[in-house]
Amino acid sequence: MAVSTRRLQKELTEITTAGTPCGITLLKADDFQTWFLTLEVLGESLYQGEVFALMFRFDSQYPISSPAVQFVNDETYQPPIHPHVYSNGHICASILGSEWSPVLSVIAVCITLQSMLASCKDKTRPPDNDRYVAHAPDNPKKTRFVYHDDEV
């Protein structure tokens, strides 16, 4: 059993016993490679009533290596319109790249993204959206994002 499996098993147990924070639900966690969670911003925000889905992809080195996290973009779920979220679902957030730390977890990432959406004041796509989406790799971890500002 890989390190990632043991660790994800523990995170899953924690989710099923203690539950998830408000606005976050576990959609699908059938294996220890790909998980889906839904995300909703509760209270006053630009995203009231919208439900998004997040896809987490883990490699065997998790949590040493960060998970690949992106918003789901299919018939049921669309990525939010946000200055740091590309229309293909890729997210430009430093905690998924250079600021990743093993102390974080799936739920911690969800909470951070939830507050990123909650604090949004301007519902726009990133300025370079079209250019990025045209050439974006499948796995957002392969992109080297330049983090625009810290108040995500």
Binding site: M1, A2, R6, P63, I64, S65, S98, P102, V103
Partner: protein, 481 residues
């Protein structure tokens, strides 16, 4: 409140690693014991092995490197202790120096390329090619085959010379695995000497000395081997060398060569200062933990506790992130080292050849190995004269064809006579280059080994819980004071 007693990581009732989230209860210690460390000023604790692999993997990534030694919660900088001998520090600074030279080369190269668009890249490549020929073949041969005056150059020089820098650079990639100076050799050894006016005049005076048997090409089998032989043998020798050096490396570093690891991405990071390649190289090697785990497995097997073993072994961080995320970072330093290093091959060959030449004065064996000859006396022979001396008219068509084939084969294999008679500077330069590559690889391997040892001997400094509110901690004996 005065606290005469400060708890440490060993006083915790339940320890939980903040990286792998494994727990350990004080009354049920894991077997075999795993070292715990409290490296900072907050309540986070971790397995030392988890923390070390996290530090190591973050240090590989330039964007994460500045956070590698920082606690994610309180920001305290971890203190590392390791075996860091002065030889490693010298090699590291040497490596840094070469990298900055490489960086300067890239910057210089880019400005030169911008200039070259005005002058024509062709001219720059060609002049570099001529320089390489002179360095590699030696002045004497250079004057025979090329001369300083471009108006004397044979037509093929204008195709061959600009190919020299390109083939040198390609020879350092996997695309072209051959002798880096192939374009240089294939044409020159087979072409007659340049016919300068001076040469033609002196040759006219020496007409009488030409006889029919005095053929204008060298023998097929001779020492040193002809350039064509070298061209064919070079890939074979190189392949053998790589495989044996790979085995040596494997023995010293104690693992399978990582060359087969699929490179998942190339990152262009021209503004990146850090030279991380070495660490990535070292990281392609399973760390000591695994070796240790295997040792422990062996011990445990004697106790008949087999099942837990297998689980245990797989749990340990085996192949570091490097293998999973093997990345080649193309930095300005590495680019400069790569291309600059390739273009320095003729110069280095020449220097090494000179050193060998000096040394050969003291060694009979070396003198014979390098086939050192005095410079040629007299002007080079003109190819056409041999044709004139042949009784072509008295030959049958078949014989004419036979002589022609013989001549073509001999020239291909042995080169022209002038080439064969020259002091084979190219040969000692080629041998010198081989010596240089061997020495370079050895130093590189030593550096790698020292770096590996440094990483293996790393220990994170343990700190007490001084400064942490004692009531926040779940201690075995909370009332102790």
């Amino acid at each position: 409140m005065e606290q005469p007693w400060v708890p440490t990581v060993d006083d915790l009732r339940v320890k939980m690693c903040y990286i792998c989230r494994e727990e350990e209860h004080h009354d049920r210690p894991t077997e075999p014991p795993i070292a715990w460390v409290h490296p900072c000023n907050c309540t986070l604790i971790a397995h030392e092995s988890c923390l070390l692999s996290w530090i190591q993997s973050s240090q590989q990534d330039a964007s994460r490197a500045q956070n590698a030694l920082k606690c994610p919660q309180c920001g305290t900088v971890y203190e590392l202790e390791s075996d860091n001998p002065s030889s490693l520090r010298i090699l590291n600074s040497l490596n840094t120096a070469i990298s900055s030279a490489g960086k300067m080369f890239t910057i210089g190269g880019i400005s030169a390329a911008v200039l070259a668009s005005g002058f024509g890249i062709y001219i720059i490549f060609t002049s570099y090619g001529a320089y390489a020929v002179q360095e590699f073949l030696g002045k004497e041969m250079f004057d025979l085959v090329l001369t300083d005056d471009p108006s004397n150059w044979p037509w093929h020089a204008l195709i061959n010379l600009p190919l020299v820098p390109i083939s040198l650079i390609l020879s350092r990639t996997n695309i072209l695995e051959g002798f880096p100076l192939v374009p240089l050799f294939l044409a020159w050894t087979t072409s007659p000497p340049v016919q300068t006016t001076e040469n033609l005049m002196t040759a006219r005076w020496r007409r009488a000395s030409i006889t029919g048997s005095d053929r204008p090409w060298g023998p097929i089998l001779s020492w040193p081997p002809s350039p064509l032989m070298v061209t064919f043998l070079f890939p074979v020798v190189m392949k053998l060398y790589r495989s044996y050096f790979g085995k040596l490396r494997q023995r010293i570093m104690g693992q399978e060569p990582a060359a087969d690891a699929t490179i998942r991405r190339y990152v262009w990071a021209l503004n990146d200062d850090r030279n991380l390649q070495l660490q990535v190289d070292v990281n392609a090697i399973p760390d000591q933990e695994e070796a240790r785990a295997q040792g422990q497995n062996a011990n445990q097997r004697q106790e008949g506790d087999g099942e837990q073993n297998d689980e245990n072994q797989e749990d340990l961080p085996n192949d570091p992130v490097a293998a999973a995320e093997r990345t080649i970072r193309v930095t300005s330093a590495s680019l400069g080292r790569f291309i600059g290093g390739a273009l320095l091959i003729p110069r280095i060959s020449n220097l090494m050849g000179n050193i060998l030449f000096r040394l050969s004065k003291y060694s009979f064996l070396l003198r014979h190995l390098l086939a050192i000859r005095p410079p040629r006396m007299g002007p080079p022979e003109v190819f056409g004269k041999w044709f004139d001396s042949q009784p072509w008219s008295r030959m049958t068509a078949a014989r004419q064809f036979g002589v022609g084939m013989h001549m073509a084969l001999s020239v291909m294999c042995g080169g022209t006579k002038t080439f064969a008679e020259c002091d084979p500077v190219w040969w000692r330069n080629a041998v010198g280059m081989g010596t240089f590559i061997l020495a370079k690889d050895c130093i590189n391997l030593f550096h790698l080994w020292l770096t590996k040892r440094e990483i293996e001997t790393r220990r994170v400094k343990n700190r007490s819980f001084a400064g942490v509110d004692i009531r926040e901690l779940d201690l075995i004996r909370p009332s102790r004071s």
